[in-house]
């Protein structure tokens, strides 16, 4: 059974049109991450939540925002997608604080900007 679920698997959006990607988890992990992976590159950390605390990476563009309304769900909002934002977006979860676990990834959402 999938433990980290991302929706949709494929998303096509228009240039400049806001888009939201979602991630849910059944693991009750306290940390959730969003990574961006462009073709033939390593995943790049955008931000993460430790419980409700939001932690942005210094080089993440303002165009990218995130929300975590509860433990199970986390959203990635791209306010005005550009052609350069086309990528695979990966959500991951882990349990932190005393006992570290593996970090599990969802299946990813492949975003196309037209």
């Amino acid at each position: 059974d999938a433990m980290v679920i991302q929706n949709p698997r494929y998303q096509v959006t228009q240039f400049g049109k806001p888009v939201t990607l979602s991630c849910s988890q059944t693991l009750n992990h306290n940390v959730m991450y969003w990574y961006q992976q462009k073709s033939s590159q390593a995943p790049k950390l955008l931000f993460h939540y430790y419980d409700k605390d939001f932690n942005n990476e210094a080089d993440t563009p303002d165009n990218f925002q995130s929300r975590r309304p509860n433990t199970s769900f986390c959203f990635l909002d791209i306010r005005s997608p550009g052609l350069g934002d086309a990528a695979m977006y990966l959500c991951a979860t882990s349990r932190e604080g005393g006992f570290h676990t593996e970090a599990f990834f969802g299946q990813g959402t492949r975003l196309t900007v037209v």
């Binding site: 990574y35 990966l90 932190e96 676990t101 990813g108």
Partner: protein, 110 residues
């Protein structure tokens, strides 16, 4: 931010041979992950190494961690075609972030 380097970036090896992938990172890390990625797919967890000197093995893959040298290795024994994929290491910092290395694209040739 942690800087992570893997080498080699590309590895082509014959079936049955052994090889090691190296992962160097720039600052203190208390744990390190290894992942496998097949083309167009997400990341599959292989190992999590939690302490200096940790060694884990699964099938033909063995990973080790030397926190003092800031080095992890992924050793492949008697490679088979099914191991062809891209392998990433990802050390974590004390702030719970983990950063990926450049990746090693492995092709196993019959």
């Amino acid at each position: 931010e942690l800087k992570v380097e893997q080498n080699p970036l590309f590895l082509s090896m014959q079936e049955g041979k052994n090889y090691t992938i190296y992962c160097n990172y720039s600052t203190t890390s208390d744990r390190l992950y290894w992942y496998r990625q097949d083309p167009g797919k997400s990341l599959e967890s292989l190992f999590v190494l939690l302490s200096n000197g940790a060694v884990k093995q699964e099938g033909r893959l063995m990973a080790s961690l030397d926190t003092k040298a800031r080095l992890s290795t992924l050793h492949i024994t008697a490679a088979v075609h099914d191991l062809s994929a891209t392998y990433f290491c990802a050390p974590a910092n004390t702030g719970n972030q983990f950063y990926f290395g450049t990746g090693t694209s492995l092709t196993v040739i019959p």
